[in-house]
Amino acid sequence: MAELIPTIIAKYNYWIYITLMMIGLYAMIAKNNLVKKIVGMNIFQTAIILYYVSIGVKKGATIPISTGGHGAVHEAVHAADYLNPLPHVLMLTAIVVGVATLGVALALCLRIYSRYNTLEEDEILAQIRKK
Amino acid sequence: METITSIKPLLAVLVSLLVTPMLVSSRNPNVREGWTFVAAFIKLAIVASMVPAILQGTEIVYTVAEVLPGVAIKFKVDAFGMLFALVSSTLWIVTTIYSIGYMRGLHEHSQTRYFCFFAIALSATIGVAFSANLLTLYLFYEMLSFATYPLVAHHQDQEARSSGRKYLLYIVGASIALVLPAMLICYNLTGTLEFSKQGIFTGTESHATMLVLLLMLVLGFAKAGIMPFHSWLPAAMVAPTPVSALLHAVAVVKVGAFSVLRVLTGVFGIDLLARLNLGTVICYLAAFTVITASLIALSQDGLKRRLAFSTIGQLSYIVLGVALLSPKGVIGGMTHIAMHAFGKITLFFCAGAIFVATGKKNISEMVGIGRRMPVTMVAFFIGSLSVIGLPPTGGFFSKWYLVQGTLQADQWPMLVVLLSSSLLNAAYFFPIVYKAFFCTPEEAMFENRVEEAPIWCVVPLVITAAGTIALFFYPSLFLKLAELAM
């Protein structure tokens, strides 16, 4: 138990990301409303983004923008001074993908609503079954 | 043994396949059947042209494509295959003539479809005959199964369709469920599927494995009709008679028997079977089928059904002959393919001719029919003699060799089986002939006026009946081929 606590503290970001992700996953599985599922999906995606951004964090480093100006190569840049930019780049892409998915999902919801006049999954299924 | 590479086997297979587009596209029935004849004759010519080379003991080989490591789609013409190919391509011509008479006589529908699948079935049959390995054999075997399905279900009514389903279920089900895995196991064990005289197994495999494999392969070729995989055959008799004739007396069932023989001789090898004493199992299986089928045949009233059960019994002769593992027995089994084919096809032709002329299907309705259709019934008599195995018909030779085989193998029970089954054969054929000719005028159901079936129906059955008798006098070609195959 004694050595467990430092582990827990040292990685709390990871624990939180897992929590968030599970919240999203649970919402996607268990929620009945289609838009709620989309909210869950977004939370799920953000959790992964959180995970990636957590990878990029480095103690004692500043944001990944060079303090030197634009253009000239004045001084040597020390890698240890800057955060890891790679996860940030990846996550920009992931956010964009998230927005794109969101748009498409909402468009689908609109189509579904115009057909069934409800967004509750069980009601839609009941309507389908009745036919 | 010499081998020649030649494209002829492939051509022989493809001829009837290539003619199908012509069949489909021709609008005029005469043109269509003309194409069928052309194909039939070309096929016979190609097959016959290979006979001299085979008789000299060479083999003709052609590889199409190597599809799997060590296994190719490959044709090999040897004596045994040649025997079978010769029989089927000869009988195709006859059957074509007969079909024309039958189909036109009854104004059947969908004749184009019929002739197409007929042609495809023939291709597959020749393919089976010439295949050089188990995979090629399996390929054409399946092709045959699927090509005959539309023929079986030709009438399209409820009964035909359910029989078709039954047919397909038995044949394809057995081949996929038993042959395919067995083949794969063989491949996995040995790395090859090529037929050879010595068999492909090294002999180090366990006895149990071999037994299982053997049973899977023998039973899996359900077209051979070995019990308990026989019940498709009587069901398939709903098909038009020429189909029953060619396919259920010649092509389909013989393909089954041929495949079993190929497996026994080419995959396992006689020596290995003898060493592991596996022949006996097959023997008893076949013997059981022979007796049971004959007994059932006795009780059948439908002519075609009786013939069907007779076929089941006769097929098992073939298997039995090879399973005796004695040289004479093997020769007997192989020649029986040819002899039985000629005899049985005559019988079926007769049944069809009766149906065309009178519309009767059951034996009990045929009292006195000999007076009306003497030619047909004489041919029927000759055919039944051949099937029973009495001179002066070709069937005598094969049965003779079979009996000798049992003696050679010291299998006395089998001798008893053979003889008793011959008696049974006689018991279910002769009453028909007897009632057809010798009955009191009161009993006769037909007028005493000769009114045969159409000429297109009668000519073929006369030819085959004549062939049956001719085989008694000139059996040398088939005997030679069978000996070469040993």
Partner: protein, 92 residues
């Protein structure tokens, strides 16, 4: 000075909790909107504070500016909802 900023940010986070309470509990959607709006204004300050903590405020100020510009779009959209769909609860 850094400590002051750090603790101010922490304090802001605490204030967010208070606003969040309204956003979560708020009996009507409009109360939630108030709560969220309040969180937004605190976020603006906090972003600058973080920039100062990183000593790169020139970088964070852009984010903050964008944030201040766009923050109220969602609120406007939600209020437009009530313009066109009258009634607090939806027609069922």
């Amino acid at each position: 000075m850094d400590n002051i900023f750090l603790y101010s940010s922490l304090y802001l986070a605490f204030l967010m909790v208070l606003s969040l309470y309204r956003a979560i509990v708020g009996p009507s959607v409009l109360d939630r909107m108030i709560g969220v709006n309040a969180i937004g204004s605190k976020t603006t300050v906090m972003l600058i504070l973080i920039g100062l903590l990183y000593q790169r405020v020139d970088m964070f100020v852009d984010i903050c500016l964008a944030y201040a510009m766009l923050n109220f779009i969602a609120v406007l959209a939600a209020s437009r909802y009530f313009h066109k769909r009258k009634g607090l609860s939806d027609e069922i």
